[in-house]
């Protein structure tokens, strides 16, 4: 299939995933409200919020990077999406994964982070800088166990291609990395918590302390773009982790269910645990998840 | 007895060096040096000494024949002259140093001239 014929399918997939991401966000707001014995906002609230933000009549910006920042940010989310095969075995929904493998996706996460950082930096707000410095610092620690987990998977399957990793996990639940290398899964899922920015690792946006961290200056359409990206990015990350550890998906239903479960994990932990300070979370990641990551490699190497 | 000159010379050299190293007064040090210098000279002369021979001065007719076996070695005697001259030169130089040092600090104690060290 040529690149250009792929574009409609890619756009379709993008549309589905953004909406699915918004839906999941809404569902989770609802679930966490229930945990707090509230009724919670309607499931469709994220759509309304998004419409409202796009419908804001005025907006302010601070400079060219304030414009480009959200573009980079959304580019990061869309980029991960573009290079990730969604449905295993589906030629239509493998996106542009022919151009790069797992490493490309990993490093595309930085694309968005850099955009956020630059845009927020241009805003000139001290809280943005604090938030970004926290976010980046925490992210370094988060990536470490993930790196171990990915290397463990690469050793296990002798490939860095996401498609092949998923392919190798087909054929029953016991073929999932979850069972073939539980340590890698544990390390990966712990870093997933951080990657999702869920509590206890959400000090980056700490609303009470530094109003909302990096996006403090973003308004109206800029914020809308960021929100769109958040919806997309979180679900895409869930899909990535699903592909890595839980056998991927062969159809849309499986994709929805599995990614929902992965996503739910972050939510579940987040509603239960209080927030870490950033130095605490870094040190925590350099303890348990790091050891799990090393165990993952040792496990796959020697057992 | 034939080594008495040699032994005296050595004793003088050692005495001189001993004085040279232990006396704090510069003049006494110089005296120590001249003593050991003299000792060296004595040694040189006594080296040339060969038993039952005479000085290499051909003032007697009998010496003109078989000269080599009748006289002591003449070379050290030539050397000793040079050595004495040099010794005198060095002594004079040292004395002038002593004078200059005394002019500098009004003292002749070697311990007072430690401006330069380390």
């Amino acid at each position: 299939m040529g690149v250009f014929t792929k574009i409609p399918y890619v756009l379709l997939g993008l549309f589905i995933l953004i909406n699915y991401g918004l839906l999941v966000t809404g569902i989770f707001r609802r679930i966490s409200a229930r945990i707090g014995k509230r009724i919670g906002m309607p499931v469709y609230q994220p759509w309304i919020n998004l419409v409202k933000l796009y419908a804001k009549r005025s907006s302010v910006y601070h400079g060219i990077m304030f414009y480009l920042g959200p573009v980079f940010r959304l580019g990061g989310g869309v980029g991960i999406f573009l290079f990730m095969p969604l449905i295993f075995g589906s030629e239509y929904f493998s996106n542009f994964s022919f151009a790069g493998d797992l490493i490309l996706i990993m490093y595309f996460m930085f694309f968005g982070m850099l955009g956020m950082a630059l845009g927020a930096g241009e805003g000139g707000h001290p809280y943005s800088a604090i938030g970004i410095s926290r976010g980046l610092a925490q992210f370094t620690a988060i990536e470490l166990p993930l790196t171990f987990a990915i290397i463990a998977i690469a050793i296990q399957y002798q490939t860095l291609s996401l498609t092949e990793i998923v392919a190798a996990q087909q054929g029953g639940i016991t073929h999932w990395v979850l069972f073939t290398n539980p340590f890698a899964t544990a390390a990966g899922m712990l870093s997933f918590l951080g990657a999702m920015g869920a509590s206890p690792f959400n000090v980056v946006r700490a609303p009470q302390e530094i109003p909302i961290g990096p996006p403090v200056e973003f308004n109206s359409g800029f914020l809308a773009v960021l929100r769109t990206n958040a919806a997309l990015l979180h679900i895409v990350e869930a899909i990535l982790w699903m592909n890595l550890f839980f056998g991927g998906a062969t159809n849309w239903i499986e994709l929805f269910i599995k990614s929902f479960c992965v996503y739910f994990f972050a939510l579940f932990v987040g509603t239960v645990f209080p927030r870490f300070r950033v130095d605490q979370s870094i040190r925590w990641y350099l303890k348990v998840p790091l050891i799990l990551g090393i165990l993952a490699i040792l496990y796959i190497k020697f057992i | 007895m034939e080594y008495i000159g040699l032994i005296t010379g050595f004793i003088l050299v050692i005495l001189g060096i001993w004085g040279f190293l232990t006396q704090k007064n510069i003049l006494k040090m110089i005296i120590g040096f001249t003593i050991s210098d003299t000792g060296i000279n004595v040694i040189i002369v006594s080296i040339s000494y060969l038993k039952n021979r005479t000085a290499p001065i051909l003032n007697r007719p009998d010496l003109l024949t078989d000269t080599v076996n009748k006289i002591t070695d003449p070379v050290p005697q030539a050397l000793v002259l040079t050595a004495i001259v040099i010794g005198v030169g060095v002594t004079a130089l040292m004395l002038s140093y002593a004078l200059r040092l005394y002019q500098e600090k009004n003292t002749l104690d070697i311990n007072n001239f430690k401006d330069l060290k380390w």
């Binding site: 409200a33 509230r38 009724i39 906002m41 919020n49 804001k56 005025s58 403090v216 308004n219 | -």
Partner: protein, 230 residues
Amino acid sequence: MSEINNKNTSGIEKDKFFAPENEKRTVTAPDGQIIEIDPLNDYFCGDAPRVHKPHKNKLFESFLNWARAESIWVLGFGTGCGSIELYPLLTPRFDAYRFGIQMAPTPRQSSLMIISGYLSVKTLKRVVRSYEQMQNPKFVMGLGSCTINGGMYWDSYNTINRLDYYLPVDTYIAGCMPRPEALLAGFNHLKKAIKEGKGEGANKYAENFEWYKANQKKIIKDWNMPDYNW
């Protein structure tokens, strides 16, 4: 700081409260050039606000208004004692989230400002600044009698009597203090107003900008910000 004040005010009565941080000052650039800094002009945008007309398509505009009404983000800014009545709204008992009402941390991202009770002059300055930093469309809700006519502080030397002289108010909630139920009713009223297209406070503010500004400046004497805080 006081000395600067005194020096600056010598002789000129109207400059008595000219904020010292707004004084012109000179700095030396790295290349030796002397630069004069005029803080108000150099650091702030300072343009007057613009009227943003609603969308021409009525139907589309009403859809957008619906979204605006159903997604009210409240600026977390408690101006007076009434803010204590706001927080129960978020508890399971009242659960304002049901109505799409959320707290937002910064003015940039919020659409509703609640003036919760009496408003002293000192706070008014901050309120004006925060309000102006919110993006159009934006709404103001006056909470309690104090915002309506001064309430029990009507003759205080330092609290305003009528909020609508300073900000375009969309909804008042009477009471001293109004209970959270009253607040919910107020929110409903506000939503209705927005859906009806009456939530044009921001445009009203822009249209009557000079009047509002004159009123504000009348009581805020040490005006240390540009006329409009973008």
